[in-house]
């Protein structure tokens, strides 16, 4: 399915692929609506939701503005807890460290709890190349893995898939026709994956938030796969984007209270796991080795710039769930890793504005994202800044058009000319609303809409 999405082509073409899939749009629309209203409802259970958002923003800013010190402390406390630490400047360094740890352990299988940063660094491909089978265990991530697709939403990877599609996928995988029922399908996944949890040599997870002063990694899931991945295999590797840090447990409490609510409207997810190194000698079970890989991969490019606030992101998905564009085109139209408003901001910053800056135009700057972000990232302002940085890389035609327009309209006679042209066209067309406009650029308006008509004719234009 994702073969239809060509990332070398303009956004408009990928959007068209999504727009033509009415079933997917319906499913995605329902899903994001439910999560969005859940978010709105659950925020009211906080005494002063706006104050908590503000607090969340300050917590995140505090940690980012002292990131070097906090990461240094994290390295100390994680090592004190018996964990191993690796700082990876690039995606390649990170992936090859994970692969080398997995290989050294002799593992042939790695069970994975969903982690967007591992998508970002192409970890599954690297593991597969090294002869280690990555097994996605988050149900949504498992579904897209079987389908050979990337996740289409940072929190709900399979949001674009219908129940029927999942039934077909699982029936094919299991070799027998399953009932088209969500409970049956989930039971299938549980039974199918159980042996992997219990036999895999390596468990790989992300990190929702690291607590620097406590040497603790906080991992949040609803399904229990995160706990299994970090408890059953003898070796655990946690991979985190370097900005995902808070200083202490008080700050973690604030972020967790925002994360669950922003995500799906829960006060807390089903499982909030606090990991403090490998198992203690007196403990019976747990991994004997626990590694933490901290990744930069161009995040440091945001520091000290007007984009720094984008690093506050706690990956809750609230902006995706409210975005009027996302609900129409869903994740693949943007990028295989990060989509929606936050994706449109960070993808150009991580991949280069000249490469992906167009994504920032996939927005009406309506500001809904900014209004719901639990840590108050000014997303619609950041999108505008990306557009500014991308402007020199837009097509020569676009730049020339804006220049001509601005030169004309910087003078009254230029504007008057435009008015005159309108009046002439109005007389010619009788001022009627027009279904088709055969004028450059304006013709794109009439792809799907009436043009209200030019003034100057008998008919007075109304919107």
């Amino acid at each position: 399915m994702t073969d239809a999405y060509d990332y070398s082509k303009p956004f408009e073409e990928r959007a068209r692929v999504s727009l033509e899939d009415g079933q997917m749009r319906g499913i995605v629309g329902l899903a994001v609506d439910r999560n969005n209203s859940g978010r709105a409802r659950s925020m009211t259970s906080l005494r002063d939701p706006e104050a908590v958002r503000e607090l969340g923003a300050r917590v995140r800013d505090f940690n980012i503005s002292h990131l070097d010190q906090h990461l240094e402390r994290l390295a100390e406390t994680w090592t004190e807890a018996g964990g191993e630490i690796f700082f990876a400047q690039t995606a390649e360094e990170a992936a090859s460290y994970v692969v080398s740890v997995a290989k050294k352990s002799g593992a042939t299988k790695a069970v994975k709890s969903k982690s967007m940063v591992t998508e970002e660094i192409g970890l599954n491909e690297a593991l597969t190349e090294a002869g280690i089978e990555p097994i996605e265990t988050d149900l949504g991530q498992y579904i897209v893995q079987l389908a050979g697709e990337p996740p289409s939403h940072i929190v709900a990877p399979s949001v674009h898939k219908s129940k029927e599609q999942v039934t077909d996928l699982f029936s094919l995988t299991g070799g027998e026709q399953l009932e088209n029922d969500a409970d049956v399908l989930t039971e299938f996944a549980r039974n199918r994956q159980r042996p992997s949890f219990l036999s895999a040599g390596v468990g790989i997870s992300g990190v929702n938030m690291a607590v620097a002063d406590e040497g603790t990694l906080c991992l949040v899931t609803n399904e229990g796969n995160g706990r299994l991945c970090t408890s059953m295999p003898p070796v655990h590797i946690a991979v985190m984007g370097m900005e995902r840090v808070v200083w202490d447990f008080d700050q973690l409490a604030v972020i967790l209270s925002l994360l669950g609510r922003g995500n799906t409207g829960q006060k807390l997810s089903q499982y909030t796991s606090l990991l403090h190194g490998p198992k203690r000698s007196a403990e019976v079970d747990g991994p004997t080795e626990s590694h933490l890989v901290i990744i930069d991969n161009k995040r440091s490019n945001l520091l000290g710039t007007r984009y720094q606030s984008a690093l506050r992101c706690i990956r809750c998905g609230a902006c995706l769930n409210i975005c009027p564009v996302f609900r129409q085109v869903s994740g693949y139209a943007y990028d295989p890793v990060y989509s929606g408003p936050i994706g449109a901001v960070i993808t150009p910053l991580l991949k280069g504005v000249e490469n992906a800056g167009e994504l920032a135009h996939a927005s009406t700057l309506c500001g809904a994202c900014t209004s719901v972000c639990p840590v108050k990232i000014p997303l619609h302002d950041l999108l505008l800044y990306i557009r500014q940085d991308f402007a020199p890389h837009t097509s020569p035609t676009e730049r020339a058009a804006y220049k001509a327009w601005s030169l004309a309209w910087s003078k009254q006679w230029g504007f008057a000319l435009t008015k005159r042209a309108g009046l002439v066209l109005g007389r010619v067309t009788g001022g009627r609303p027009l279904r088709r406009l055969y004028l450059p650029l304006m013709s794109r308006w009439t792809k799907g809409r009436y043009f209200p008509g030019f003034p100057g004719g008998k008919h007075r234009p109304r919107p």
């Binding site: 956004f11 408009e12 959007a15 068209r16 727009l19 749009r25 009027p324 564009v325 129409q328 085109v329 135009h361 996939a362 927005s363 009406t364 700057l365 309506c366 500001g367 809904a368 900014t370 209004s371 505008l384 990306i386 557009r387 500014q388 402007a391 837009t394 676009e398 804006y402 220049k403 327009w405 601005s406 030169l407 309209w409 910087s410 003078k411 009254q412 504007f415 008057a416 435009t418 008015k419 309108g422 609303p433 279904r435 650029l441 304006m442 794109r444 308006w445 792809k447 799907g448 809409r449 009436y450 043009f451 209200p452 008509g453 030019f454 003034p455 007075r460 234009p461 109304r462 919107p463």
Partner: protein, 255 residues
Amino acid sequence: MPSHQDRSRRVTLFPTCLGTLLFPGASAAAERVLEAAGATVTSVEEDLCCGQPAWNSGHVKDALRVAERALDALAEAEEIVACSGSCTAMVSHYWVELFEGTPRAAEAERVARRTHEFSSYVAGELGVDNLGPLKTSRPRRVAYHDSCHMLRGLGISDEPRRLLAAVEGLEIQGLTAQDRCCGFGGTFSIRFPELSSAMADEKVDDVTEHEAEELVASDLGCLMQICGRARARSHDFSCRYIAEVLDEAMPQRIQ
């Protein structure tokens, strides 16, 4: 003209480029309503644009070139009322950023502070009661669409509703996805016409599902978008800029 009303509010009307080019009736109605509510309205000689089309596309120099002429014309105005939520947001919110670092930054900031959106000015500054008894000759069910810049950018949602509620004969109908963007987004509507139309579809369906006969908004761009799409799908609800609704409902004045 003898009047018990206080005519000391001097307002410069900013019709916006859409108003000037396509919907002169909208700004003419706005002028009449402002006068009726007690303002003395002057128009600027020149036709102005706030620079938003280029600003929103990231072409800052181009935006500045155009906005400077608007700044020239508005620099001395006491108060400015714009016939658009998005143009008001551009001037009152973004001009400071646009003109930052230029010799005209302080001037731009002054104009920004003096610029108001039409409905918030009439209801908030002048008072809807000043308009006298409002009664429409076409009783109908209307839905109001909040434009994004006005709702989230300026925080204005109350005033237009107060104005509409004051009109006898109007039944105000709420929409399901009241806050959702209509998909206009200025040049977005031309960059991604299919996506933009798909977004408009949700608004059109919302209006027709609630059987509203008319859609009212404070942004001409949104009206053009939703109604342009509605027409293409053969729906016939009418669309009006808010000033036109009030204008039609005002007691007739002898000129």
